[in-house]
Symmetry: C2
Subunit: 418 residues, 2 copies
């Protein structure tokens, strides 16, 4: 195993750095992030040069279009990274918070105190800005991070990680709190996945194939960010104008992301008044509809949905539409075909709104709002490292707090067990 | 793969049952547990017979002593299971709780609601009472559970799981919320560990070898319960009488468990007044001491500690003792040799008490109390399924709440993203 020792040594350095980070204090972590924001702002040329080399090589390898664009660190993207670092720096420090405290009959006061998770491993694909965005959140929460980016962004990532490490050092923190795996071979990822004693959690960010590879091979827990087959259910008691706005926004505002609606479920009682104008809105926006027979009867330009459409994550201007007899049928459809990501109901009925909210087991359930709100910024977490579809530890958007855990603390005056 | 289909089918049944359990309501879950308590109380003969067959076979295979005793379902153990079921039944329902709710600038109200984890897999070794204790907590929190007990307890486990399934059915809940893997081959465990789509989390309970096997092969997250190398640090400002009581209790009250103290650290300033009488207490209780040279100078019967002693989990009446120059040295020792399980400081100094509490990163950190309190019942969780040494999701004792997760809920009046 050629990488075994190098990767294992990174794990040990990360663990040592994590111990220091955990108790380094709020101010040093904040300063490191502000140093990084400044340094990044000043390093435009250095970043552009590294990125240009990555882009050149990618083009030589025949990469083009959206994939090439994801690789590009334009001035705008660098500006966003700088702004992101400043925002994260200013978030409240999650560490040290006593999330609850109670007293036992023997007088022992018991509480839970928020502490860092420890060492976080992040494996990601092309976008080099993940290097900065993800590392910033890990540092804010007092963790160490080992980053392994895509091979095509290698020079860009190395440049960005270098700036972060210098900033940690300037703030008196261990630079090894941010480490980049400098080999682009998948063997190196496999070695990372064996380090259960050095890495507390792995977060793969990328396509389904990458996530499966990490989940199958990791010995530590993995926080997965799988697909979103998101639904809006328009209830018989919906305000139809509101429903049109929500259904349009959920599908059209940004169709290529995981919180966009993929299937629209419409109660039969309002289908006749709701579907024709809704279909017209979609037609104007260039959305292709694939519907059940009852939908097609009301929206003549709608194609026929086949079984695969109900489970499809189109990530495109395509929408599956189904008329249902009841909210129960809508919830059964969601349970059968959904991916537990984001589901919304549009209704004015109090009882059904609350029943939907309670019974649908997705990472975000909305009443009378767009599915597009499943996002750490939009929900008020300040920033996000991704949207977890794993139920353990964090379900839904993960912000700074989701990169922490709690330990128990107990304050006594001599208590012993009898 | 002979077990592949059988185990996969169990996973699918568990997932279906979990959907029903999640929304079945508090009362049905409570009733199922009370039904089980009653049924277990009535089934003494049936349990005794199944257990006798397991015991007979174990004896034929040469199992004896403590291992045989762990297998025995005496009347006392059955009584404890019944009492445990009643206690868990009466715990507050964790589900549906809104753990926090806030309002966004656009008027969207966003909160987190407690929901079940889903499907929990538990792999355990000899004690058959785990079948009942673990399943009860999973059911209380609205989960399905797939149990895989030790082969030597197979008939006992089948009998107990059967009673639990009947009780679920009587309460109108799906019996498949509790399933027992009825093959004792390790291949069956391997098949379980592949079911990342059906099992949300694995909890191995048993020796280190079992835990490593599960962690290495599982594709889903694993909550580990590793060893406890627990420390008590007696500070220079300790009340020496209190310190003697805590150090005695931490080592002697039940030496064979993970929250017993394994290493005692003593500040040099009080070593001379503290160690000789403490050593005498230990001598009377039959505790073998292994100390550093400074300890040995003060406690003549103390043996010499070697490097391995500092990392040892004796689980026996043996104690490593070291005199340190400062609290910092004590904390460095703990970081170097400890297992992040349970650490206590005995001190009357406010600043040092709080610094120790903040800086030591173990699952329970105590001031002026015995390490033996690291236990779900003792800390007030009502019951526990184990003590997690994984930092993700749950760190320390896991009660009913740790068998849940939260989803986001959002209440709007037509909000869309712009």
């Amino acid at each position: 195993m050629s990488y075994e020792n190098a990767i294992r040594s990174m794990g040990q350095k990360a663990r040592r750095a994590a111990r220091i980070m955990a108790t380094a204090g709020s101010e040093a972590r904040r300063r490191a992030l502000e140093e990084a924001a400044e340094a990044l702002g000043r390093a435009g040329d250095r970043i552009a040069q590294a990125n240009a080399e990555d882009l050149k090589q990618a083009e030589e390898r025949g990469i083009s279009g959206a994939k090439l664009e994801r690789l590009r660190l334009s001035e705008k993207v660098v500006g966003e990274m700088v702004a992101g670092l400043r925002e994260v720096a200013l978030l409240p420090d999650p560490l040290g918070e006593i999330v609850r405290m109670w007293r036992r009959p023997n007088g022992l006061r018991v509480g839970r105190m928020r502490i860092p998770l420890g060492v976080i491993g992040i494996v990601y694909e092309s976008r080099p800005n993940v290097t900065v965005d993800a590392a910033a959140l890990c540092v804010k929460a007092g963790n160490s991070v080992i980053l392994r980016g895509g091979s095509e962004a290698f020079r860009s990532n190395r440049c960005l990680a270098g700036i972060l490490r210098e900033s940690l050092e300037k703030a008196g923190l261990p630079p090894d709190a941010v480490q980049l795996v400098e080999t682009t071979d998948r063997e190196a990822v496999l070695e990372m996945l064996k380090l259960e004693d050095s890495i507390d959690v792995m977060i793969p960010r990328g396509g389904e194939e990458l996530i499966r590879f990490v989940a199958e091979n990791a010995r530590m827990p993995v926080l997965k960010h799988y697909k979103g087959v998101c639904h809006v259910y328009v209830d018989e008691s919906a305000d139809l104008a509101m429903a049109r706005g929500i259904c349009f926004n959920s599908k059209v505002q940004r169709p290529g992301v995981c919180n966009a609606m993929e299937t629209l479920l419409v109660h039969e009682k309002i289908a006749e008044s709701f579907l024709p104008p809704m279909a017209e809105d979609y037609r104007k926006a260039g959305v292709e509809l694939r519907g059940c027979p009852r939908t097609r009867a009301l929206a003549p330009e709608c194609g026929a949905a086949v079984e695969e459409d109900w489970a499809a994550e189109y990530l495109d201007l395509i929408l599956a539409v189904r008329v249902v007899d009841s909210m129960e049928e809508a919830m059964e459809h969601i349970a059968a075909y959904g991916s537990d990501h984001t589901e919304a109901i549009v209704t004015d009925n109090f009882e059904r709104a609350h029943r939907f909210l309670e019974q649908v087991q997705s990472s975000l359930v909305l009443v009378n709002a767009s599915t597009r709100f499943n996002d750490g910024f939009q929900l008020g977490l300040g920033a996000e490292i991704g949207i977890s579809t794993s139920r353990l530890h964090a379900f839904g958007p993960m912000g700074v707090e989701e990169l922490t855990t709690t330990k128990f603390v107990a304050l006594g005056d001599g208590q012993v067990r009898t």
